[in-house]
């Protein structure tokens, strides 16, 4: 049975509009309804694997109407979004009891999920901008949700930089419309293939890279992330770091560069340089941090650098006309690392939320010896740390291995050396977390902490099992062909996107 595509956007949106009607007395009913929404989205996403479809909204045919496109890359992103949001919503059923106004929090959360689904499915470039703004505005409000001193300051900084990025993206869309006369992505791609890039379109591409790079927190534009992610409540940090910066930043950038404008050697090298800078700067800045969530936020910057490095390496190899097998291997590494990082970084932020709820502090110097008091948190945090460092049977090892093999095969040996070096730095920072939080002496005031059971536990265990099992996505050939290969194919045959959409 095939799910109509607009249901991915309509279900969270309608439930988000209904939730503020519940008020204070219906808080339990509101939580159950919101959890039903995210779990049903997960079921929809799993059922839609392997299907490709172009859905014309309102029966207006393109280029007059707006279409929603489901291809390999979109279905991969929908799967990742629904897994992370289901886990975060389960976690927040118990974690958000310490805040007031829970119904409004759930409504904003579902708006953010609806916006991200819209970005993943959109086939029209202005529609992408509108859904990007919906998701961004919901996230600005959620970062400052607690209304304490630091949260408001972090939310203001995030909001100013995010709005400037959105204005750059709108300016670039205006330039593209002025030069090609249409807004549908397939038609823009065909017009650019027919007439080539003039000065206006090159400026538009530069503005797109700056705008989406700011949303993805690449290194010259990362200044908002170390303040915004620690100040948000823990499930929101998991959503922001795990999936929002990747959908609004990396996915949109890949769609615009590979499918609409077409790759060139300059753009590929620009992406490689940005990826390398992010990896190295993020890793160095993270080692010196003493706040648990700030360290994890800097490590997010570093890991998104891996994804951009993989995608950029693929772009350079395609543009130089080299063997397509190595290009698709590099892009496979980048996309697989994207999905892996979504799962284990959100698990890390959820465990940090559990530690904070139990002990009331986030500073590494005040914690210690919590291994016996919080056993489940300790186990899941160790699984996630092993994944992010890259220890063999867990999922992170496979994506880093494929990236190193791709770099070596393309004869960029220095890139492979940098990747291994940054993995060593990641090992150092997570050993620091383990030693200061779980091993060592238990301070006096923390003798009485207890584990928080219930829905928080279910969410963390679910994500930990996924961490262990995700390695099977590349090892078992059937799963790889069903889930990862179509996504890689969309990016390597970049310019065939327009022919596919117009032909369907």
């Amino acid at each position: 049975m095939s799910i109509p595509l607009p249901l991915f956007i309509a279900v969270p949106l309608v439930i988000a509009f209904l939730l503020p009607l519940f008020g204070k007395k219906g808080k339990a009913a509101a939580t159950v309804l919101a959890n039903l929404a995210t779990i049903s989205l997960l079921v929809f996403a799993v059922v839609s694997i392997g299907r490709t479809e172009v859905y014309e909204v309102g029966k207006w045919s393109i280029p007059l109407g707006i279409n929603l496109v489901l291809d390999g890359l979109s279905s991969l992103m929908l799967l990742a979004i629904s897994v992370v949001s289901a886990a975060a919503m389960l976690f927040s059923a118990r974690y958000m009891e310490q805040y007031t106004a829970k119904a409004k929090y759930l409504s904003l959360f579902l708006l953010m999920v609806a916006g991200m689904n819209g970005v993943a499915l959109s086939g029209d470039i202005f529609n992408l901008f509108v859904f990007l703004e919906i998701a961004s505005l919901a996230s600005y409000a959620l970062v400052g949700f607690g209304c304490e001193h630091e949260e408001l300051e972090a939310s203001f900084k995030y909001m100013v930089l995010g709005t400037i990025a959105s204005i750059f993206i709108l300016f670039a869309i205006a330039l593209v419309y002025g030069n090609t006369g249409t807004l549908n992505m397939a038609y823009i791609s065909k017009a650019i293939q027919n007439s080539g890039l003039n000065a206006g379109l090159k400026f538009a591409l530069a503005l797109f890279i700056v705008g989406f790079g700011l949303k993805a927190a690449l290194v010259p534009f990362h200044a908002w992330l170390p303040d915004a992610h620690p100040s948000a409540p823990a499930p929101i940090s998991a959503m922001l770091s795990g999936i929002l910066i990747k959908t609004l930043g990396v996915y949109a950038l890949a769609r615009v560069v590979f499918n609409i404008f077409g790759v060139s050697v300059t753009i590929g090298w620009l992406l490689i340089v940005l990826g390398l800078l992010s990896m190295v700067a993020g890793a160095f800045l993270a080692i010196g941090q003493w706040d648990l969530k700030r360290l994890m936020a800097y490590s997010s910057i570093s890991q998104v650098g891996y994804v951009i490095l993989g995608v950029g390496l693929g772009a350079t190899l395609i543009a130089e006309g080299a063997d397509l097998a190595w290009a698709s291997l590099a892009i496979l590494a980048g996309l697989f690392h994207l999905v892996n990082h979504a799962v284990y970084k959100s698990l890390l932020f959820l465990t940090s939320g559990s530690v904070e709820m139990a002990t009331g502090t986030r500073q590494l110097k005040d914690l210690g010896g919590l291994a016996e008091r919080l056993p489940f948190t300790r186990t899941t945090c160790t699984v996630a740390s092993a994944s992010i460092v890259g220890i063999p049977p867990f999922s992170g090892f496979w994506s880093k291995l494929i990236l190193v093999i791709a770099a070596v095969q393309a004869q960029f040996y220095w890139i492979a050396a940098v990747i291994v070096f940054v993995s060593l730095c990641t090992l150092i920072m997570y050993l620091k977390v383990q030693r200061y939080v779980f091993l060592g002496e238990l301070p006096e005031n923390l003798r009485q902490v207890k584990e928080n059971k219930g829905s928080m536990l279910v969410a963390m265990v679910f994500l930990a099992c996924l961490c262990v099992l995700m390695g099977l996505l590349v090892l078992v050939p059937g799963l790889k062909q069903a889930i990862l290969d179509p996504a890689v194919q969309v990016l390597t045959d970049g310019l065939k996107y327009s022919a596919d959409v117009m032909g369907m």
Binding site: A10, L13, V14, F17, L18, P20, Y55, V57, K59
Partner: protein, 150 residues
Amino acid sequence: MKGMTIIVKTVSSWVKVLIVLFGIYIILFGHLTPGGGFAGGVILASSYVLLMLAFGREFVQKDLPLALDSKLDCLGAFFFALIAILGLVFSGVFFVNFLYQKYLPGQPLKLISAGTIPLSNIAIGLKVGASLFLVIFLLSTFRRDTSAGR
């Protein structure tokens, strides 16, 4: 915030009716003349802002309590989403203008034409009016001397 003099209060209670009427006209004729849901909603909100400036905030809070306003806001948005889903139910594709194509085509350039577009305009006008009024009312609680310090 106190109200203003008696002249301002009398005149503004007459002018308020005209503003609401103009806002409803802009919403209802949105498919024929420029305007539509958003512009009409802003005009409806501005009539309540005129009341707030002339009579004081406590009067407006008794007149239109904030809880009711918040519920009107949600209902407007839900009604708009309901129109879109009814398109899916009646015609198989999301957001189709099902009234125009099957049930009620109407004649061009008259008030009853263009299917579900006037209904969408009414829903948007309700939502925008309610939420803009809520924003302006809540932002006006700012006082210069309530700095809580660091």
